[in-house]
Amino acid sequence: MSMIEAAGVHVRFGDRVVLESVDLAVGEGEFHGVMGPNGAGKTTFFNVLTGRVKPSRGSIRLGGEDVTGLSPHRIAAKGIARSFQIMTLFDEFSARDNVMMGLPAFRARGLDIARAAAGDRRLTDQATETLSGVGLADKGDIRAKDLSYGDRRALEIAVALAQAPRVLCLDEPTSGLGSDGVQRLAALVARLKGKLTIVAIEHDMEFLFSLADRISVIHWGQVVARGTPHELQQNEWVRRSNLGKFA
């Protein structure tokens, strides 16, 4: 059984069809890459997976359970976490507090008005541990907006990881990073690989082809090619559109 499965997802904004019919099934522990030209609808597809956009047709299943059309907070609680193409952090909060917000144990206390949020050792330790996992161990006290661009990208992922998700959706995690940053991120993702089901939209082909188990290419609102990195390099469509040219 697939961990996450999209079937016949159709999305239109007004009379503009963005996704015609997208199918995707990602197995547990698989790292699945998603690529495609600008404006192909990749982010929109993530928005459907995570409840931000309701598809007009099609369905989403998480671990066999139908989650189509649930609101984002419900889907998040069920175990789909995401990072954002345009970074979306709590800028005024420290890095540690950003991560803290993601912890399910904190979320469970969200309506608590009687206790102080600060000073819960268990939560702080958990947050610090998550930060170490992405190489931000000594930056916990720095405000998110004062972090470097690369650190912010890492924090973006740490917040999603804090949710202890079943599925992690990364929307162009390398975007804007220099080659050092990309390497650092690749190392992080390589460590996560196998432990977590990951779907990653990415333009950086080297990154994707070296890490992904399988890759889907979205174009004209549907998946036009799919396979292992090796298979995709042979694919006629990919060759013609020059997507596999680096290989």
């Binding site: 995570t50 931000r52 609101s71 984002p72 907070h73 998040a76 609680a77 976490a81 995401r82 954002f84 345009i86 979306t88 952090l89 709590f90 800028d91 005024e92 909060f93 420290s94 507090d97 917000m101 993601g102 399910p104 904190f106 979320r107 206390r109 969200g110 309506l111 608590d112 008005i113 009687a114 206790r115 102080a116 949020a117 600060a118 000073g119 405000r143 907006k145 917040v159 949710q163």
Partner: protein
């Protein structure tokens, strides 16, 4: 923002050193206020409006939601307090509770309609609802007394079973209001620094992220508005006692604007105490400058404009910046939040 102006140990406290000092200083006010040519009633007004502004700032500062019709809940609380003592029972505690509950219900009703919005649409809708309540208050002559107001409200005694305090004297009433203010500030401080308060502050910074972390954004926005309305109503109940009457003018758009001005001038966007600073300045300016010229609002308006233009983080922000010697650049970046509120930024 708020977290930065307080140390994390303060955030975990129920009562902070700042709070204690403030309460103690306020406790001395009746001893000297007449000697500087002012009067205890001004102290009463400052405390009541401070509580109201702190309640309002839950929505404006903590949640980042521009509510420009908050006077409605303050006014509803005042009427509820009066009507309770006339028609239900003349008991202080019951009538103050009624003020909070009735205003809270009104706030909850409005919250149902506005909580999926933010930015300018949110602001418009709060204004519209504020105007509706204000019009109702004026038109329901038989209930509220219309433009003449609901008169002959009395300062019910504070009955603690064994002892009962008469509050008709302004100094006695001042100390009663100060006690309420002390409890109120401790509760609000805890609320803002609780997990709930942190989630609300997170939602201010990014609704999208908060939702995708599993927080029901609508629920938090609706509940914080309701809480704020209830506490504003409670303050309104105290105000009815202070004035011995309830009038519709506090519900008008321009008086709703006062609390916004007070909060922004004081620095409610960056500091828990900002609203208190703003109320203090506004009401003392009204009495001190107002004694010299009728155009005192003009001067306060100029101050407001100067602050929005040059120090959008307000007086509290400027003070804490001076203390912390932040770089000019950090200030500029922080200052944009006042403008962002209005245009609904913050993904």
């Amino acid at each position: 923002m708020m977290a930065n102006s307080t140390t994390s140990s303060d955030a975990a406290r129920l009562v902070t050193p700042t709070m204690l000092v403030l309460w103690l200083v306020l406790a001395t006010v009746p001893l000297w206020i007449t000697r500087i040519g002012l009067y205890p009633y001004l102290g009463i007004e400052i405390l009541i409006w401070s509580l109201y502004a702190l309640a309002f700032n839950l929505v404006l500062g903590t949640a980042g939601l521009p509510s420009f019709g908050h006077g409605a809940y303050f006014g509803i609380g005042a009427y509820a307090f009066g009507l309770c003592q006339f028609d239900i029972v003349a008991n202080l505690w019951v009538c103050l509770a009624a003020a909070a509950v009735v205003a809270g219900i009104a706030g909850a009703l409005v919250a149902l309609f506005i909580s999926h919005r933010r930015g300018i649409y949110y602001a418009f809708m709060t204004i519209a609802f504020g105007q509706i309540f204000w019009t109702l208050a004026i038109k329901s002559h038989s209930v509220t007394g219309g433009e003449d107001g609901l008169l002959k409200i009395s300062r019910l005694p504070a009955d603690f079973g064994l002892v009962s305090f008469d509050l008709t004297d302004n100094v006695a009433f001042y100390y009663f209001v100060l006690a309420v203010f002390a409890v109120g500030t401790a509760i609000l401080w805890r609320l803002v620094h609780s997990p709930y308060g942190r989630v609300v502050a997170a939602i201010r910074q990014s609704e999208v992220r908060a939702a995708h972390l599993g927080y029901n954004v609508w629920l938090y926005k609706a509940s914080v508005f309701t809480l704020s309305a209830a506490l504003s109503g409670f303050s309104g109940g105290l105000f009815a006692m202070a004035q011995l009457a309830a009038f519709p003018d506090v519900m008008s758009l321009h008086q709703s604007g006062y609390v916004v001005m007070m909060t922004l001038v004081g620095g409610g966007l960056v500091s828990f105490w900002g609203p208190v600073i703003g109320v203090f300045l506004f009401l003392t300016a009204r009495d001190v400058i107002g004694a010299l010229t009728n155009a005192w609002m003009l001067y306060f308006g100029l101050l407001f404009m100067a602050i929005v233009l040059f120090r959008p983080e307000g007086i509290a922000g400027a003070l804490s910046a001076a203390v912390q010697q932040h770089s000019i650049n950090a200030l500029r970046r922080r200052g944009t939040s006042a403008m962002r509120l209005l245009v609904g930024g913050g993904r």
